[in-house]
Every structure is written in C-alpha cells, then in structure tokens.
C-alpha cells in the first residue's frame, strides 16, 4: 500500500510538471478534435504526430500520444451520438441509443452522461492499473486460443440480444458480417478468398470502411429521403446537461459498464472490442422494460460508454507490463516507445519507473482534462445539429473520405465507403439493422483465427473447448444468453418471433 502511494507520488510528480501537463492537455484536445471529425482516427493522427515528438523527452511524448488515444475515444462518442457515425468499433453501440436520444432533443444529456461515465470509468481503470497492473498480467496469459474462441462465441450471443427488431434478421446480419470478414488473404495458406482477383480486397475490408459506409453514408442517404422528420430533429435541443434523475438512472449502468470494460480491456486479443457490446447486453437484460432500448435509453449510453473508456485505459496493462500491444493503436505506441529508445517489455516498470508511473498518473489527469474540455463543449456540439443539412452532409462526407484515405492511403477504400453506404441504405429500407452485422464482422475475423489456432494446437480435437475450464464456462454463458433471448419469443408463438419488440 505504501509502495503504491509512493509510486503514485512519483507518477504525479512526473506528470504534473508544467511541460507534461501542457503536453497532456494538447494530446487530449487534439484527440477530442480528431475523435469528433468522422473518419480521422487516432491511428492516423498518432502516426502523423510521431515525428514531432522526436524533440521531446520520451515521457512527455508518450503522455501526449496517450492523450490523443483516449481523447479520441471521448470524441468518437460525440460523433456517434450526434451524427450516428461510430468512429471506432467500440462506439458502434453508442449509436443505438445515443443517436436516438439526440433525435429526441436529448443530445446534450447523452453527451453529458457519456463524458461523466467515461470520467468515472477512467478513474477506476487508472486506479486498477496502478494497484493491480502486474498481477492482472497473468489474466492475459491464462487466455489461450480456446478461451478466446469461447469469448468470441459469447460475443456473438450478445449480438442477437443487441437487435431490437426481428431475431431472424439479426442472425442474418451477423452471418453477413462474418462472411464479409472472411474476404481477403487466408492467414494460414496465403490464398485469396472472395477477392474476385481485385487487388484492393487482398487484405480484406477495413473495419472503418464498413462502419463509415453502413452508418455515416447510409445515414445521410436516409435523411435525404425524410424531409419532414429532420426539421423536428434539429429544431429541439433541450437540456444541455443531465439532470439528477438522469444521473441516478445512469449510475448503476456506469458501475457495471466500468467493471465489464476494465476486465475485457486487459485481454490482449482485442477483447476490449467486446466491452461496450457486453455492457449494453447486460443493461438490456437487467432493465425492467427492455423495449426502451434502441429508443433512447440513457443506460444504453452510460453502460457502453463507461465500458469503452475503462477498456481503453486497461488496454495499457499488457502494453506496459508485457510489452505486448493489444490493438493497432497500442502497436503504434510500441513504435513510439522504441523510437524514443524505450523498448516496452516486462522490464519497463523497474527500468523506467518515471515513464511507467508518470503515464499512469497522466491518464487520470488526462481524464479530468477531458471532462473539463468536453462538458463546456457539449453546448457547441449540440448547436452543430442546427447546421443546415445542405452544409453538414457534404462536410461529413468530405471528412469521411479524408479520414478513410488517411488510414491506408488507398483510394479504393474511399470508393468502398460509397458502395457500403448504398448497401447500408438498402438494409435500413428493408428493416435490417447494421449494428449486429458490424459485430459479426469484428468477431468473425477473430473467431476464425482463434478457432483454427485452437484446433491446430489440439491437433483437431474439438473437445478442447470443453476441457479447458475458462472456455467451458464462457460457452455456458453464451448458451444461457442465447436461450434467455430466444425462449420467451419462441413461447410467444410464431407471429411474435419475427418482430420481437
């Protein structure tokens, strides 16, 4: 305990130097801005800003880059809520209820609750990293391929619950998502699958391309054919900050979301992606009236947003303690560290205590700054809804195009957004929801990989999934969720099955 306090003291001494506080603030500000711009993500920004950090000392540079990362997580929810475009896989769920709240004139409340929930989650996660970072590392090592596969199956069970319309349509969408994930070069044999010989499909479809097309472009197309409703949507703005009643309603969801997100964030195999989905499922299951979900339920924003931010923070654990990056942004952080002469690995904590504890302290400071930056900005963001659509839509499209190009510098990605936009518009018209499809897409890729790896290691013995205790438990949970989701609707008879809500 005294050790922890001494370490945190060292951390705050490092992080509170004028230079580092300024860098942290800059990082958070830049992160928020790029998070808000649809399309421009943290990966492109960090890559662009890397050369600037050459002149800084490593601690300051990493504090700034980390600020960009979690700042972007904050900003990403703003776009998800206001214009229904998830910037990253983790903010897909926020669009479900967050954007509905915005359309009901509660955009300010949604943004406020997202910011407060994220701050709470960030604080808890920072404490968790500081107190238990090293022992938690072991969790990462318990999870082998079989456990990950079971986790992903559980994730797909969540996807069924996610849908608030027809279960059958949701399952269909998940399958389409998994099929889309199978496009590209097969990892094991190097053979191309479903690429039609097109060079730009050899590496598969990028998540951002799919998300921006299905949500961003499709949303714009949909708005274009609904002239009457859009006037109402932007005329009402309502309260800017959540009321006490809102806070009370969101508090339990925030707590649960934080716990779920923090645990999944530690897993190096991109487990953090599942956090918001899992949190949303839990909230919908626990709610007295699940039909409110998908229609602007505040818990549907608070839970996933807390999970998202908690996961973003705890994702630093495998990086700082093992030197293993759990996602693409963290891989970039590894690059940034190595450029600065610090090779991340098990030795960082003892060899560079300044860096380790300074970064942890700066995370909390950064979260506080984000709250300070974001709460006053809520008023400005909400006013963005008043911008006439003839100005806003071209701007969104332009940012999407620039953003997607900045990721891989591939012009074909820009064309793919347009194609998925039209596809997404068709889906909306026929009453299919894009969210389960995106989850199927994210999980499909991982699932296939882990399934094949687990079976390679077990020499083809499928029982491995039941023999390993963690994997067996996860399968049981998945089965229970599915049964709970399907049984009531089955009992209600055939007619009700296909239009649940």
């Amino acid at each position: 305990m005294t050790d922890l306090l001494a370490n945190l003291g060292l951390g705050f001494a490092v992080a509170l130097s004028l230079q580092n506080v300024t860098l942290c603030f800059l990082g958070c500000l830049v992160g928020t801005l790029i998070g808000v711009l649809p399309g421009v993500g943290p990966i492109a920004t960090i890559a662009m800003l890397l050369p600037i950090t050459f002149g800084l000392d490593p601690v300051g540079a990493l504090i700034m880059l980390a600020g960009i990362y979690y700042g972007a997580q904050y900003g990403g929810s703003t776009t998800a809520i206001l214009v229904n475009i998830p910037g990253e896989a983790t903010s897909v769920v926020t669009t479900l209820d967050g954007h509905q709240m915005a359309r009901q004139g509660r955009a300010g409340v949604a943004l406020g609750i997202a910011a407060i929930g994220s701050f709470f989650a960030g604080t808890v996660a920072t404490l968790l990293i500081a107190a238990l970072g090293a022992p938690l590392t072991r969790l990462a090592l318990i999870f082998g391929p079989a456990e990950y596969f079971a986790l992903m199956v559980m994730g797909l069970a969540f996807a069924v619950v996610l849908a608030h319309g027809s279960v059958l349509k949701a399952v269909a969408m998940i399958l389409v998502g998994i099929l889309l994930a199978a496009v590209g070069t097969d990892l094991e044999t190097g053979q191309e699958r479903m690429t039609f010989g097109l060079a730009f499909l050899t590496d598969g479809i990028d998540f951002s391309v799919l998300a921006m097309g299905l949500f961003g472009v499709a949303e714009i197309l949909r708005n274009l054919d609904q002239t009457e409703t859009r006037e109402i949507a932007r005329a009402r703005i309502g309260r800017l900050l959540p009321s006490l009643a809102d806070l009370r309603q969101a508090a339990p969801a925030t707590l649960r979301g934080t716990a779920i997100g923090a645990i999944l964030g530690i897993l190096p195999g991109n487990g953090a992606v599942l956090g918001p989905f899992a949190a949303y499922t839990v909230e919908k299951r626990l709610a007295r009236d699940p039909s409110r979900f998908g229609r602007g339920a505040i818990e549907g924003v608070a839970g996933p947003e807390s999970a998202n931010n908690a996961g973003a923070q705890t994702a630093f654990i495998p990086l700082l303690t093992l030197g293993i990056p759990p996602n693409a942004v963290m891989a970039l952080m590894v690059g940034a560290m190595t450029i600065h002469g610090i090779v991340p690995g098990p030795g960082v904590m003892t060899k560079n205590p300044n860096l380790f504890w300074g970064m942890i302290a700066s995370m909390w400071i950064g979260n506080l700054m984000l709250l300070v930056i974001n709460l006053p900005l809520v008023g400005i963001w909400v006013r963005l809804l008043k911008v006439p659509y003839r100005l806003m839509f071209p701007a969104i499209l332009m940012f999407c195009a620039i953003g997607i190009y900045s990721i891989n510098s591939l012009p074909t990605d820009v064309m793919l957004i347009a194609a998925f936009g039209v596809f997404g518009y068709g889906l909306i018209k026929f009453g299919f929801e894009p969210a389960p499809m995106l989850l199927g897409f994210v999980l499909g890729k991982l699932m296939e990989e882990y399934l094949r790896r687990a079976l390679t290691l077990s020499r083809g013995d499928a029982l491995v999934f039941l023999e390993r205790p963690v994997s067996a438990v996860l399968f049981l949970v998945a089965f229970t969720i599915l049964a709970a989701a399907l049984l009531p609707s089955l009992r209600r008879g055939r007619d009700a099955v296909f239009t649940e809500a």
Partner: protein, 323 residues
C-alpha cells in the same frame, strides 16, 4: 492567348531545368509498406529524420500497408522516378515476395534504383521458458525427435517470422506444426504462456522478453553477437553456421532516377547513417548499421539478387507442401 501559353510553357520548362539542379525543391515521400509502429516503420522514421536534415527538405513517411508489404512497394515502384518518391524496402518485399506472390508487379532486382542498406535487424531463435534443452544443439535434437508434436509460431505467410522459420526448418530438418498468428505480438504472448514451443523473429521484438526472462533465446543468426543480447551465442558458435539471416531494411527508388538525384539520395543516406545519434538509436533497438562493404547502391543490388536466389526455392517448397 497563344503567347501567354507559350510564355507559360517556357517558364514551366525553365522551372523543370532548375528543379534538376537544385533537387530537392519540395518534401520527399518515403513509402513504408508496413503499419506505423512496426520494426520497418521505426527504422524508416529513425533514418528519415537525419536524411531530411542532409537534404534540406522534409522526408515524409507514408505507410501503405497490405499483402506482405507488396502493395506499398508496387505503388512506389510505379511513381515517377524524380526522387520525390522513395521507399523503405525489406527482406520480405525485396527477397521473399517473388516466391510468395504469383502476380507480383515488380522485380526486386530490376524495377528499382537501389539507394542503400539502412539497417539490419538480426533474427533470434527463441523458445518458451521451460523448453527442455540447454543449447541450440540440444534444441535441434529435441525438434527432430519430437517432429510434429512441436508447435512453431509465426506471424502469417510472408512475414519475417514465417520466412526465417521455414528456412530454419529446412536447414535443420525439423518438421514442427506451424501455428499462425496475426502479427508477432499475439505470437509472443502465446510463447510466454506456453501455448507454443518456439519461433524465429527479429531481435527488436524479442529482446525485451529475453531480458525479462519470460522466454529464452538459443542463438542469434548473425556473424557477431549483439550488444543488446551479449549472452546469446551466434548460430555459428552454437553449431548451425549456415543459418545467418537478418531482416534488412533498405532504401530504394523507382527505376530511372536522374544520376545527380540518385547521388544526392545516396549521400544523404550515408550522412544519416554516419550520424552518431542515428547509429545509437539503431543499435539500441538491437539493429545493425551497414558496414563499409555493405553500404551504398552496388552492395544493395548484390544483396537483393542474393536474397531472391536464397528465398525462392525454400519458400516455394514450403508453400507448396502447405495444405
């Protein structure tokens, strides 16, 4: 109108003439065919900074990823050879690629004007902490005795860990089961967690784990020991002299560079690599800086030809036997 056009044309021509004399006039793009933050990207960024100072213009990194790095190299090879687009090629893109990608749109030995080798990152043979062998000889004996019961991790067909791992197996006669990962990060994680038995990978990825004692190293595949891992013997010392591999990174330009532009780029890279701060950074990563005989375009051209000849037979047979 016609006169204005003629004047415009003339001044444009004059500008082109001037540009050739005073290259570079604007920032230079260096295409890195791998994701930002990876070993090649790190080397590119370390070298680009002093190169910018030597050239008096910013060398901007552009990451164009895909298809084992061949997407970025293909695109850069088709850019105009004016010195404003250069690229960081790699053992994979300029050595292994012809064996792995059938429709490759460039020839590593013919489609480029080589500028020079930038840095090498030696390959290390690593195994899980509890692997029952004391040294490389014992390790190879266990591999041979247990055959497919051994699990070897690699980061996907075309990756450095795959090519060098396949070469290791063909030289030692080991026939382990290959377990594929998306990137070296998850592969190392499973090596630490005892899910897989061994892999071969770049020193920059594995050195911190070896130092931290979470995995163990049997040998480093260079002629000399690395200052980052002074206790790890070379493959020659440990009894496998033929296995000398390095994931080298080198600067190339599209074919047809004007001679003066090429000379300026070669000089800039040379200045960059002689800068002690740059050398220090590369050495800290466990990398190697090219020696006198390895530096410059002629040596690089020879290296590319040697590497293509070395990888093609090994990888062709490995890919063909893969179901």
């Amino acid at each position: 109108m016609r006169r204005a056009l003629a004047i415009g044309l003339l001044s444009a021509l004059a500008a082109i003439g001037a540009a050739a004399d005073t290259y570079p006039q604007r920032p230079i793009t260096m295409v890195v065919p791998f994701a930002a933050g990876g070993p090649t990207d790190v080397v590119a960024r370390i070298v680009a900074e002093p190169m910018s100072r030597a050239l008096g213009q910013q060398v901007v990194i552009e990451n164009v990823t895909g298809a084992g790095g061949t997407t970025g190299i293909t695109r850069a090879s088709q850019a105009s050879p004016d010195g404003y687009t250069i690229m960081m090629g790699h053992m994979g893109t300029h050595g292994a690629a012809p064996a792995l990608f059938k429709g490759l749109k460039y020839d590593p030995a013919k489609s480029f004007d080589p500028v020079g080798l930038a840095a090498g990152t030696p390959i290390v043979i690593v195994a899980k902490k509890g692997f029952p062998a004391q040294d490389l000889k014992g390790f190879i004996e266990v591999l041979k005795a247990r055959g497919p019961a051994i699990n070897q991790a690699h980061a996907g067909v075309g990756s450095v860990s795959h090519s060098t791992g396949v070469l290791f197996n063909s030289q030692t006669g080991a026939k382990p089961t290959l377990v594929v990962y998306r990137g070296t990060g998850p592969a190392l994680n499973d090596l630490m967690a005892d899910q897989v038995d061994f892999m071969t990978d770049q020193i920059v990825n594995v050195a911190p784990q070896i130092a931290g004692g979470t995995i163990k190293a049997y040998a480093i595949a260079t002629a000399e020991r690395s200052p980052s891992l002074p206790d790890v013997p070379t493959t020659k010392e440990a009894g496998l002299p033929g296995y000398e591999v390095s994931a080298w990174n080198a600067v190339f330009a599209p074919k047809g560079l004007p001679a003066d532009v090429r000379a300026k780029l070669v000089a800039a890279l040379d200045t960059a690599l002689k800068d002690p701060a740059t050398t220090k950074r590369i050495l800290e990563l466990g990398g190697t800086v090219p020696k006198e005989a390895e530096a410059g375009p002629v040596a690089l051209q020879a290296l590319v030809e040697r590497e293509v000849a070395r990888w093609t037979p090994v990888l062709r047979s490995a890919v063909e036997t893969n179901p």
